[in-house]
């Protein structure tokens, strides 16, 4: 199967699934993927995403202890203003909008549950956000995990993920 990856500037990089063979990577510990694999579920690309990830996971040696980290950046949270906006860095969100955002963040679980059947892994949701919005983002992700637990549950076939905070210094108010 071949893929055409469309670049933002109109150029395309071509690669095949085999290009993502990680069978020689004995030191590999963590595979990080963006939370947009969840958006793909909505726009019909979930099969593409899960086919890709299933292949990548199947190539990783069984001896490797693997953690998958789903990355949530500042722009994934609609309650956070874009970088460079004025202080404070939050938007007012209604309860309905907040609930809608939480349900969006739960979408990656559909793909991840399929992947767990291919290979076991530890799962973490990472709020890869600036320090000033860390509390908001981590609390949101904790709510997401709690809702998923309530609706679909976690067990040995799909253990409960942890929420982590990975700070990065990018968000600063305009001078």
């Amino acid at each position: 199967m071949r893929y055409t990856r469309v670049l933002a500037n109109g150029f395309a990089a071509r690669s095949s699934l085999r290009d993502f063979d990680l069978s020689q990577h004995k030191m590999l510990r963590v595979l990080q993927i963006p939370s947009c694999i969840g958006c793909a579920t909505n726009n019909g690309q979930s099969d593409t995403a899960s086919t890709f990830l299933k292949y990548v996971l199947s190539t990783i040696p069984p001896s490797v202890f693997l953690r998958i980290i789903v990355l949530y950046w500042d722009h994934d949270f609609s309650g956070i203003k874009p970088r460079g906006s004025d202080w404070p860095p939050f938007r007012e969100l209604s309860e309905v909008a907040r609930a809608k955002e939480a349900s969006q963040h739960r979408l990656p679980f559909k793909v991840l549950r399929k992947l767990y059947k291919v290979r076991e892994f530890r799962l973490a949701l990472s709020a890869t956000v600036s320090g000033c919005v860390a509390e908001y983002a981590t609390r949101m992700l904790e709510e997401v995990v709690a809702e998923e637990k309530l609706e679909n549950g976690f067990d040995d076939h799909f253990p409960e993920p942890v929420v982590i905070y990975d700070p990065h210094r990018t968000w600063r108010p305009a001078r």
């Binding site: 893929y3 933002a8 150029f11 963590v30 990080q32 890709f52 600036s130 600063r172």
Partner: protein
């Protein structure tokens, strides 16, 4: 024993509990607000010890955006006022960005003596990010312009640099302690000038941290880097829309611990 001056009961600026805290405690307090510029600014106005603790965070990051007016290129005001106040040595993270169109190529011609003066005072940079750097134009005397950065810089980001593969590798080789490398490039990357085989990088940087490639079409550059630096040892990779993926993953097979991949970039063919 009280030895003169104001009596212990006299309220003075120095008797405030805030000013009597040990510096280690002040640093811990400040660490909680490193991202809150408004609070940091307030802390610098409290007293000298709070100023000392807060000011490095306040000026940790500097973003300067060049802009053109009537064909002339202007450097922004923050660069000049921070230079006059002697604050540029506090900057750890420098971004020279170009968000305008058409883009301004950052070439030797823009660095006259006056502009070079503030740039020479960035002596503690850890992270350097430059948009549209015309590396070719700085050669062969590139060290005059960037020679003071290398000892401290650990992270280098180049967005659409101009130059041959060899020239770009030479530039990377100026930074002897470089760990992280980020490229964001277009399709014409590296194709514009013929390579000079005599151009050998002055150092072989460790490059054991992050390799971040976004919209990257310069697989040949990475192959040349491996030849000139004797391999590739990145432990972390963040790859999005990259040509030569198989080669790249294979080159770091023995060192790669963390990889960021984008499955939904792909479109079935």
């Amino acid at each position: 024993m009280w030895s003169g001056g104001a009596s212990p009961e006299t309220p003075t600026a120095s008797s405030s509990p805030a000013t009597r805290l040990p510096q280690e405690i002040v640093r811990i307090i400040i660490a909680y607000i490193t991202y809150d510029t408004h609070s940091l600014r307030a802390c610098t106005l409290t007293c000298y010890s709070w100023y000392i603790a807060a000011v490095p965070h306040l000026h940790y990051s500097l973003e300067i955006e060049t802009h053109s007016l009537d064909g002339m290129v202007w450097w922004p005001n923050p660069l000049w006022y921070m230079y006059r106040l002697g604050l540029l040595p506090l900057v750890r993270e420098l971004q020279v960005v170009d968000n305008g169109y058409p883009h301004i190529w950052l070439s030797k011609g823009l660095f006259n003596r006056n502009v070079l003066r503030p740039f020479l005072t960035f002596t503690n940079l850890r992270e350097l990010e430059i948009d549209f750097l015309d590396i070719s134009s700085f050669l062969p005397g590139i060290r005059r312009y960037f020679g003071h950065f290398p000892p401290t810089v650990r992270s280098l980001t180049l967005r659409e640099p101009r130059g041959s593969y060899r020239e770009i590798i030479y530039f990377i080789g100026l930074f002897q302690h470089l760990q992280d490398l980020t490229f964001t490039c277009g399709a014409k990357f590296g194709e514009e000038r013929a390579d000079d085989p005599t151009l050998t990088p002055p150092f072989i940087p460790p490059l054991r941290g992050w390799l971040r490639l976004f919209y990257f079409t310069g697989a040949g550059l990475l192959k040349d880097m491996i030849d000139l630096f004797g391999g590739m040892r990145f432990r972390y990779m963040h790859l999005r829309n990259v040509d030569g993926m198989r080669f790249l993953l294979g080159a770091c097979a023995k060192s790669l611990e963390v990889v960021v991949l984008y499955p939904t970039d792909s479109r079935g063919e």
